[in-house]
């Protein structure tokens, strides 16, 4: 060292820089409280998994595993054919995605690539209104309008309540989610890509279809997966509109039930929710399947969303 070490002036000691004790204490208490609040989410997730596992296992131990292969799901009668609600869920989800995927994507492309800012400002809130309509209201709409006015006109002889009606209505509910995720993905595509395409003399449609959409594909896939997950978890619409039929559906025009509707059905019929019977526990068994399905879909979607973030 070229400069000699100066003596510490009598003024300052380390303790002088320790800060005000009361303020330090407040800071520490707040930090603990906030950490605790954040930790709540971990507790909640743990509780969900513990609760589902506990009662699902409780349920499994009271039945013979072969019972799960039954063709009928009616736990009150001791019929545990789990394929009935699973197939019902698959049909409803398939229909819902066929409705929400293209329409939601189309609306998103229009809003992101074609609509003027003014039109966007008007249309976006309308889509948000659709998103905020309670699903039980959409369920009512399904049984009082979609079923008689749309589905039964197209397919005469279809029962009033069926998986197709439920699927279409769930699709309607899912459109806003699809639209908003897809729009975000499209808007994340840098305008330099569009300009490069126009620079080559490409028309708008060519630019959108061959440049913008391929560039946004990760986000669009994420939107689709999230829509699937949302459709699988929707309860009220299917509870009201699918018919609650306990057999395995063979076509979407059959009445049926789904994982969620079957769970709800277990808790209805009496105003007093029952406790530990295996009828009631079957809801937890279905809940575990539902949770596993939606969680894995959400994790996959998350992957795709991250890919979008990394790219741009």
């Amino acid at each position: 060292m070229t400069v000699p070490q100066p003596p510490t002036p009598p003024g300052l000691r380390v303790e002088d820089l320790a800060g005000n004790a009361a303020r330090n204490r407040t800071e520490m208490v707040v930090r603990y409280a906030l950490t605790g609040a954040a930790g709540m989410s971990v507790l909640i997730s743990t509780a969900i998994i513990v609760v589902l596992l506990r009662d699902a296992v409780g349920f499994i131990t009271t039945i013979r595993l072969g019972d799960l292969g039954d063709s009928i799901w009616n736990p009150r009668l001791g019929r545990f054919g789990v394929m009935s609600p699973i197939l019902g869920t698959l049909w409803v989800t398939l229909v819902a995605v066929l409705v929400a995927g293209p329409i939601g994507l189309g609306a998103a492309v229009y809003l992101s690539e074609y609509a003027s800012p003014r039109l966007r400002r008007i249309v976006k809130p309308v889509v948000e209104v659709l998103a905020s309509i309670p699903s039980v209201v959409v369920g009512y709409f399904a049984i009082r309008f979609l079923a008689p006015e749309v589905v039964q006109r197209l397919f005469s002889g279809a029962p009033a309540k069926n998986l197709l009606v439920a699927g279409i209505a769930v699709g309607l509910l899912t459109i806003p989610l699809m639209t908003s995720v897809a729009e975000d993905a499209l808007r994340a595509v840098p305008s330099s890509l569009r300009e490069a395409s126009y620079g080559l003399g490409a028309k708008k449609v060519t630019t959108v279809v061959r440049v913008v959409i391929p560039a946004a594909v990760s986000g669009l896939v994420a939107g689709l997966i999230l829509s699937i997950s949302r459709a699988i978890g929707e309860t009220m619409v299917v509870f009201l509109a699918a018919g609650g039929v306990p057999t395995r559906p063979t076509s979407p025009l059959d009445g049926g039930t789904t994982i969620t509707a079957a769970m709800a059905a277990v808790a209805t019929g009496t105003d007093n929710v029952a406790g530990a019977s295996n009828t009631f526990q079957s809801a937890f068994f279905l809940g575990l399947i539902l949770f596993a399905l939606t969680l894995s879909l959400n994790l996959v979607a998350d992957r795709f969303v991250r890919r979008v973030r990394q790219k741009y």
Binding site: E27, V30, A38, A107, V126, S132, P134, T235, F239, D271
Partner: protein, 308 residues
């Protein structure tokens, strides 16, 4: 990735050379997109129209207040949604009171306090995934915790308190995510100013960050509240009543209760000839509540977006 793929370039060049300038494809494509958007709007209009007329009939023949102020009855012309409205509004208040502070606190932790460690990553992961858990699963959780579980002596079982707590857990991830976004939008220079004059982390958060993010956080919470208010699926497991019961008055947190979405669900399945009017009327009451709260949220958000 190449900026624009070479196939495209070739096609474009070929189109130019051959002089094909068909705009038909472009017009058709745009037409399809418009059709998608119109379908969405048409569905919304059809929905609103289909749930209105019979309900408005009920309001005009019985009077709005009669429908709003009467409890359950076996007679459609006497049945009202008083208990349901009370239950829905009360549980919404409970949700706001519980989920807002909890959600904001968690968001503050994540955005202002957390360092990049396993706990923070876990919390982030968990919150993102909780937001995607179906509502009915929260019903099971609420049942196992509050209705018939460790906290049932506190909540009284199938009560509004259980419902409020369950719905608060349901919307908590949404409140956290939107609050975190609002906090993230607060400019770093503001925080620096506070730290620069010797404010502690909490002082910076309390006096500078939170006031600045309040708009976004309130908006997020209000939108989450609207969602909780219309949610019916968890109520199956909360023991919401669908037939005559005594009680269900304002802030009767530990008694029997019901809520509007549950009433709609139950009345929809009753014989339409007698109950359709009431069902629609109940839907209208719910929509006014939900859409009203949503409008407040959206207006607030636009207001704060403009200010930024």
């Amino acid at each position: 990735m190449a900026l624009v793929d070479s196939d495209l370039t070739r096609d474009l060049v070929r189109a130019r050379i051959q002089g094909r300038q068909s705009d038909a494809a472009g017009a058709a494509f745009k037409g399809i997109l418009v059709a998608c958007l119109v379908t969405v709007l048409a569905a919304l209009v059809a929905l609103l129209i289909s749930v209105a007329p019979a309900g408005l009939d009920v309001f005009s023949t019985r009077g709005l207040s009669d429908f709003l102020l009467r409890p359950f009855s076996v007679r459609p012309d006497k049945a009202g949604v008083y208990q349901g409205t009370v239950g829905t509004v009360t549980s919404a208040v409970l949700v706001a009171v519980i989920a807002f502070p909890m959600g904001v606190a968690a968001a503050v932790y994540l955005e202002e306090y957390a360092s990049d460690n396993w706990f923070t990553r876990l919390v982030n992961l968990v919150i993102r995934n909780l937001a995607g858990v179906p509502a009915i699963v929260y019903g099971l959780l609420g049942f196992a915790l509050f209705v018939n579980g460790p906290f049932s002596s506190l909540t009284g079982g199938t009560t509004l308190l259980s419902t409020g707590l369950t719905l608060a857990i349901l919307v908590l991830p949404i409140v956290v995510i939107t609050s975190a976004e609002a906090i993230r939008a607060v400019p770093a220079s503001l925080r620096e100013g506070g730290y620069g004059v010797g404010a502690t982390r909490w002082e910076v958060t309390r006096t500078l960050v939170l006031p600045n993010a309040m708009g976004g956080m309130l908006t997020g919470t209000i939108l989450a509240l609207a969602r909780a208010l219309g949610e019916a699926a968890p109520l199956f497991f909360m023991g919401a009543k669908t037939s005559i019961f005594s009680g269900g008055d304002w802030f009767d947190l530990r008694g029997d209760f019901t809520a509007l979405p549950m009433i709609i669900s139950d009345w929809s399945t009753r014989p339409a000839t007698k109950w359709n009017g009431n069902t629609q009327a109940a839907i209208l009451v719910t929509l006014v509540l939900v859409l009203g709260i949503n409008t407040v949220g959206i207006v607030l958000r636009n207001h704060f977006d403009k200010k930024r």
